[in-house]
């Protein structure tokens, strides 16, 4: 997604001279294409994320369209109050780009895991949040949201190779993407862990369980109506996120189910326990928290009602 972001930003910047790229001294072997092509619109503010957001606010008020880049936790949590009092309060078009969704920084450890950025920023209704699941969706979403008058936060993945089957670069504000149809249950997921959910759905299909996969890629505007209309035809829904479900996807879907009076039973899978000092590769972390394809299959198979309904396992 990172290459897709930089390439798309370069394309946009070629025709929109308001665009600037700010970095908190990160983005080695990633941001160079922009820096080389638009040296006067590239600014390394140093390892100073609070100031980066403040500077972006001042630039946006002057008419610029600044994209402020750092590792997701540093871009979102460190300057949270600057985001709140800056672009959100002033309704200015600052773009904040957080890199490394979920456990992507695997061996770097907990300080680098983006487990709360989306949940924390969902508390700011004036901020559009975009969480693409793969490079195709990244390209579309960067384009679709480029000219929004208010601020946007992008939670992006480093991985350029992921392709989530069924997404085909779809992205629409206020709507979800149905990456796979199904009739027995609905998975609702966000971000690059969607690839595990799709793989799990394919395995379940072999056993006769048809699981739909719904990918949520933005909040504010929330895709509430669209999601509710889809979930209304299901009895079972499972949310899957490589993040804290508290305030994140799990909380969002639970709110939709409860406030719309939907009949579906909801199961929430995410990172809901306190840090225990361990780290590992992304797949290791996904396994630990039950987010990998095998764990997801096991979770579904363990649901007796579904098993009875499928009659196969």
């Amino acid at each position: 997604m990172r290459k897709a972001f930089v390439a798309t930003l370069c394309e946009l910047a070629a025709t929109d001279d308001r665009i600037m790229l700010l970095t908190g001294d990160l983005g080695f072997m990633a941001l160079e294409p922009f820096r080389e092509r638009f040296p006067n619109r590239f600014l390394n503010v140093g390892a100073a994320e609070q100031n980066m957001i403040g500077v972006a606010t001042g630039l946006a008020e002057a008419g610029f369209l600044p994209y402020a880049y750092s590792i997701a936790t540093f871009a979102s949590l460190r300057p949270f109050e600057f985001i709140r009092n800056g672009p959100v309060l002033h309704r200015l078009p600052v773009r904040i780009v957080g890199m490394g969704m979920g456990f992507e920084y695997g061996h770097s450890g907990h300080t680098h895991y983006a487990l709360e950025d989306v949940a924390a920023l969902r508390t700011l209704p004036g901020l559009t949040i975009v969480v693409p699941a793969d490079s195709g969706q990244t390209k579309t979403s960067i384009r679709v949201t480029h000219d929004l008058p208010g601020p946007v936060y992008y939670s992006l993945g480093k991985d350029d190779q992921i392709v989530v089957p069924g997404l085909n670069g779809q992205f629409e504000l206020g709507r979800v993407c149905v990456a796979r149809e199904g009739r027995h249950l609905a998975f609702v997921t966000v971000g690059s862990v969607a690839q595990e959910v799709l793989a799990a759905a394919a395995k379940l299909a072999q056993a006769g369980i048809e699981a739909a996969v719904i990918v949520v890629a933005n909040f504010h505007p929330d895709p509430e109506d669209h999601l509710a209309s889809i979930l209304s035809s299901f009895d079972e829904a499972i949310t899957v996120e490589a993040q804290t479900p508290s305030g994140g996807l799990g909380a969002f879907v639970a709110t939709v189910v409860a406030t719309r009076g939907l009949r579906c039973r909801l199961r929430i899978i995410g990172v809901g326990t306190a840090p225990d000092g361990t780290s590992g590769s992304q797949i290791d972390r996904w396994r630990k928290y039950g987010l990998d394809r095998e764990s997801l299959v096991a979770t579904v198979v363990g649901e007796s009602k579904l098993v009875a309904e499928a009659g196969r396992l």
Partner: protein, 283 residues
């Protein structure tokens, strides 16, 4: 540029500003009076001489960031006397569903940025100054900090970036009143060498009498094209009201004598009368 900064414009009268501050804080029964009174001459110098632009909607106007947002009422007084804020709006200070809270909001005509959380305004000011330069605009950016605000690490993040990019179109004024929310600044985080600290960060720095409009106006003209500027303005907390300057809680006898009282306290009727007497008939 002219050698006499008073040549072209009418000075916003500090006494009139203080009158508004006392009247409105009494009417609304709120504090932060000492913080407002001590920046009166700074705001008078800014709005009488330094800030260029045809009005609050002029995109090429100079920008001002009241980074110490708790002096919002002093800013409203300056805006009212400059003619950008109506008396009607001024009377809504701390009212119901008003934009004129204690801390200023960008929704108010003439307020360029919302402030109130310390250490944020200067970062925005740096972005604003950088934007002006990138656009080839001559507009300047002024930013008023409190000395206690310099406790915030983000102030120094901003200071480093401004110096790195030689943002000489940026002028910071530090209200050096020596007071912070619980103690004297020197007893919390001593910053008695504040001007020196800014110099060490690559800024052009000077110290002036923060109650001399002429000295402030002169200092605010500086733009050497090389460095961002900071003026450390020595001020007296509660300036213009003698019992506030001395920290005497006239009617709250349980409190010790300390200037910080007038960071928090609203005025009683008696205190208000004494303050107005001081202002109108005092020094």
């Amino acid at each position: 540029m002219t050698s006499n900064p008073f040549e072209f414009r009418k000075v916003i009268d500090p006494k009139a500003m203080r009158r508004i501050i006392l009247q409105q804080s009494k009417r609304a029964n709120v504090g932060h009076i000492g913080s407002c009174l001590c920046v009166v001459e700074i705001l008078s110098a800014l709005y009488s001489f330094a800030l260029e632009g045809s009005g609050p909607d002029d995109p090429q106007r100079d920008r001002f960031v009241l980074s110490k947002g708790h002096a919002g009422l002093a800013l409203y007084a300056a805006l009212a006397l400059r003619g950008w804020l109506s008396e009607y709006h001024l009377e809504t200070f701390c009212g119901t569903d008003t934009c004129l809270g204690v801390h200023p909001d960008v929704a108010i005509p003439g307020v360029d940025f919302t402030t109130g959380s310390l250490g944020q305004g200067i970062c925005v000011a740096v972005g604003s100054a950088l934007g002006a330069r990138l656009q080839g605009s001559k507009r300047r950016v002024f930013c008023l900090l409190s000395d206690a605000e310099c406790n915030e690490g983000s102030v120094w993040e901003a200071a480093m970036l401004a110096a790195q990019h030689r943002l000489s179109n940026l002028h910071v004024i530090v209200d050096f009143n020596g007071q912070q929310a619980l103690n004297l600044t020197r007893d919390v985080l001593d910053q008695s060498n504040l001007a020196e600290r800014w110099r060490a960060f690559g800024w052009r720095s000077s110290e002036v009498d923060g109650h001399s409009v002429a000295d402030l106006a002169e200092a605010l003209r500086i733009d050497d094209g090389l460095r961002p500027n900071v003026t450390v303005a020595r001020t007296i907390f509660g300036k213009g009201v003698s019992y506030m300057e001395q920290g005497i809680p006239v009617t709250q006898h349980h409190l010790p004598v300390q200037p910080i009282n007038w960071h928090y306290l609203p005025m009683s009727e008696d205190e208000y009368r004494r303050a107005i007497d001081d202002l109108e008939y005092g020094r």
